[in-house]
Assembly symmetry: C2
Homo-oligomer: 243 residues x 2
């Protein structure tokens, strides 16, 4: 990031100037010229909750950066059982490089903003800049780490620990700006109960009961079903099983 400080801001395409993807996301690997080229083909869009963004089994012809909101990656069993296998937050990259169908589908969890570009462009840029492939590789490794954390959670944690872990995961990923190092946070749940259940391998009813339990134990406060306040992250972590 500091490496780019010397570049005058006017070299940066207007649409990219305020975008997180340029700092923490894959676009950070691009030169101003490449960024310009890319930005000429990008399309910003905003979609409603539960809009399907990628279908499993369907090869994709566009990639996106998540600019705002939360995207659910999910897998479906033939009989309808569903598991959310990952959540993507801004500025994550969305879409499987190298064409292989990844077998997951992607849906907006809440109001989501995307910055999309055709597959062809990304492929060109990858070829001329190994640093871009490196960024994508790093994102893949990061997602792999998260997937494995989730496996531990799904396989070995109790319902209560799962819900606590989920809240902590949200706190970790959302607005890293508002990180004032305090032990207390407040935020909007981007997922509805049904999504949380599909993420944690539980049922809606169990999510509801566990949240009530956390509320009665004064570990969280809940307003309007969606606004969560965690008075002490520390205390919440104590019931997450993570130490």
């Amino acid at each position: 990031m500091s490496k780019r400080k010397d570049i005058h801001n006017s070299d940066i395409p207007v649409v990219c100037r305020a975008c997180e993807a340029r700092h923490r996301g894959v676009c950070g690997a691009l030169t101003p010229e490449q960024l310009l080229k890319l930005s000429q083909h990008t399309k910003l869009s905003s979609v409603k909750p539960d809009t399907t963004l990628l279908e499993a089994e369907t090869p994709i012809d566009a990639y996106s950066n998540v600019v705002r909101g939360v995207v659910k990656l999910s897998k479906l069993m033939p009989d309808g059982r569903q598991q959310i296998v990952g959540l993507q937050f801004a500025p994550d990259f969305l879409g499987r490089p190298f064409q292989r169908d990844s077998g997951v589908s992607a849906e907006a969890a809440d109001q989501v903003a995307l910055c999309s570009f055709p597959r062809r462009i990304l492929e060109q840029l990858t070829e001329e800049s190994p640093e871009l492939e490196h960024k994508l590789h790093e994102q893949a490794l990061r997602e792999l780490d998260e997937a494995r954390d989730l496996m531990l959670m799904l396989g070995r944690k109790t319902a209560g620990e799962k819900v606590a872990s989920f809240l902590l995961l949200l706190i970790d990923h959302m607005d890293p700006e508002g990180n004032d190092d305090t032990d207390t946070v407040s935020f909007e749940l981007p997922l509805k109960r049904a999504d949380i259940a599909d993420f944690l391998g539980l049922t809606i009813e169990t999510i509801s009961r566990q949240l009530t339990k956390l509320r009665k134990a004064k570990l969280v406060e809940i307003e309007n079903n969606r606004t969560i306040t965690v008075p002490s992250i520390e205390r919440l972590r104590n019931v997450s099983g993570d130490f």
Copy 2:
């Protein structure tokens, strides 16, 4: 693979000639010269079941290819609960590129043979050959896909479906040579019951009961607790939940 047919075999280092990693693994990205350079620093080793290969939280200074056997990647909770988050079969690459600690530890599940080399060498080769990074990227994406399949399994499948899926996973990964397109296979279980339990998020007793159930349903035959025969892969798939 066909691209290398024209290279005379004598260009290939002796230790690499019969190695799967040269074909399906990461070494396939290297030129004969690079392979030679690498092979001068590699060390072949063979380790007993349950030997620790990588410790979580400990940065690694060597990478390996799995040449024979099965390696368990696992995560541990502070109170001792354990989850196996991945299994690596020959010729998988073992070790996290770019130094970051991945938080998993690796143990031999059965008798394992490794081909190891110092981190420095891999880093040098990655710098001079983007194709190598590409191979590593592809392996990361493959592992990510597998991790997500496992998440669906851990979160949504019944004990019976989990055990059936596990056997199918083994059939998929083991000796792709012996794949004579028949519907019946026979193989040795590389994991003991306790490992299977940690992999599937169940207990030893449940594994045992589910195997007995499969045996009584004539879906598998079991000899000496370790030798499995599946008379019809098709029928086993029918109880795996995968369609």
